[in-house]
Symmetry: C2
Subunit: 355 residues, 2 copies
Amino acid sequence: MIAALGAGVMASALATPLCDNGHEVHLVGTHLDRDIIGTIQQTGRHPGLNLELPAEVTAYQLEDIAAAFEGADIVMSGVNSFGVEWASEHLAPHLRPGVPVLSVTKGLAASDNGDLRILPDVLAQHLSPALRAQIPWAAIVGPSIAGEVAVRRDSCLLFAGSDQPAVDMLARTFRTDRYHVWTTTDLVGAEVCAALKNCFAFGVGLAEGVLKARGESDSPYRNHNYEAALFAEGALETSRMVQVVGGSTETLLLLPSIGDMYVTSTGGRNVRVGRLVGEGMNFTAAWEALDRITLEGAAAIRVVGGALPKLTERGVIGAGEFPLLRHLHDVVSLEKRLDMPWSAFFGGEQVSSGA
Amino acid sequence: MIAALGAGVMASALATPLCDNGHEVHLVGTHLDRDIIGTIQQTGRHPGLNLELPAEVTAYQLEDIAAAFEGADIVMSGVNSFGVEWASEHLAPHLRPGVPVLSVTKGLAASDNGDLRILPDVLAQHLSPALRAQIPWAAIVGPSIAGEVAVRRDSCLLFAGSDQPAVDMLARTFRTDRYHVWTTTDLVGAEVCAALKNCFAFGVGLAEGVLKARGESDSPYRNHNYEAALFAEGALETSRMVQVVGGSTETLLLLPSIGDMYVTSTGGRNVRVGRLVGEGMNFTAAWEALDRITLEGAAAIRVVGGALPKLTERGVIGAGEFPLLRHLHDVVSLEKRLDMPWSAFFGGEQVSSGA
């Protein structure tokens, strides 16, 4: 039995491959998921996915977490990046040695000195060091829109965990003929990629807005060259950040880096708010125009972008590195005007030309 | 003065940055461009771009090529991949020592033993070895939809050439505050990336068709996870092919590889024919349904995919490598049924799981 805390679309969608493989799923809502759980209990449908959940799913309100987690073979954390500290506290009493904890949250946390930490580390912080060491920590990363997983579209995922046998067990538990799973022990690299793709999806959203700001919304020629250049620079900055935080260079990271960046750039809220900022709105106004929706991309830009000056000051990264991420931080956190630093991309336009 | 052979949309669009920098452009049509040249001569508009060309552009029919190329500082080849041999023959009498030849054609050629050759080598084949050695060969690669370049959308390009001073000169000639140019001497790596992105854009197109074949065209859940997985595997196979053919690992190749793959996947004819094949049509039927349009993607799949068995037989690549490209070749050249080999992607789904 797999017990999940957080009844958002992703944790709920994962019930499809799990139940297809004959497993039971206990889905426990956070205090913010009260209505979602109520609806599932009454109708069997998940209101966010707008789909019926498999019959093997049982939904629980937060006060029933102890009963729901009793005897779980796998624990899943399905909260968003804003809820990880909260989840750490609420999961702690229910975690057991040897039972893997699998995170689907995308994001990073920053220490005061700018060092970036992966979210499974935050998730572990309310545990005793002894218990923490006995739990196999893992994460699911890679391009997967939740609803597509729920309706069995082919999806390729990377399961990352510090412990290879545990991550193999997790892969076997989830893998179906539509849900394709690879594994890696590079949890750090996988988490960095997953967090950064949200930053750059926001960036790609700017392109369409820029067109509107120039009064060229009706032009037959769109702004795809702009998007593509940001996409490529985003990929470069992602792989450099993996290196900075201490991940590997293995090719499986293509799934959570450019694969997930591609899928996130096809739409969604990060792209939408990016579009408004591209039109010339400042970030706060754009966010308010979208009813202050939860924005993982903006959150990641704040955390990672805010860490960059500290990492630069300490000599960990060069002042010319991460020009896109620095500018996205200027725009999102400091409300600066969008003015894409094209010539700083790819190591600098002039430098490599020798001109 | 820049003289171009081939009046397609890309060579014509490049007149915008060139003329913005005060240069004159002589645009010479091939025998297939007769109507395009006639229209430009009469109206000043390019019918493919549906835009007025800059006043500094002069259009010439093929019989006037000698006059058009007389005194050119830069020669540009704007033919498509099907016309490179033809272009070699027709350009040969007009090339001069020290005058760079810049190619905008995307594709590769294969030798009988499966070795892949870049198109500038094909372009050079009608020259004496002495003259060939005295010409700086170069290519423009990177994400750029022609019409967007013509209307001055921000675009980031990579100019690749064997000779750094020449490629720097070319970069300075084209670079504007909207047309951003980086340079590399890795002409081979750049050309391989540019050719392969067309193969994978065809692949990405399959996703939407697959949905239709399953009767789920109206589903709110699309098939973006499928596209993204192909995109990531395509990126992996591109970088491996760069290695096989002898290119570098420099990060600027992100522009012609994933940057250009991203932009090509946003639409266009390769995506459209892929969609029909995804629906279940065989390739020839799909191609006929689209009035036998010129398909650079299918051409590249035939050339590169056809070379893979020979390279495997000679031990240059492993039998498990390039599963996506091999399957695209099966579908396009051998009319096989689409059956995506997911488990073979990323080095193999089972291998890395240790299961």
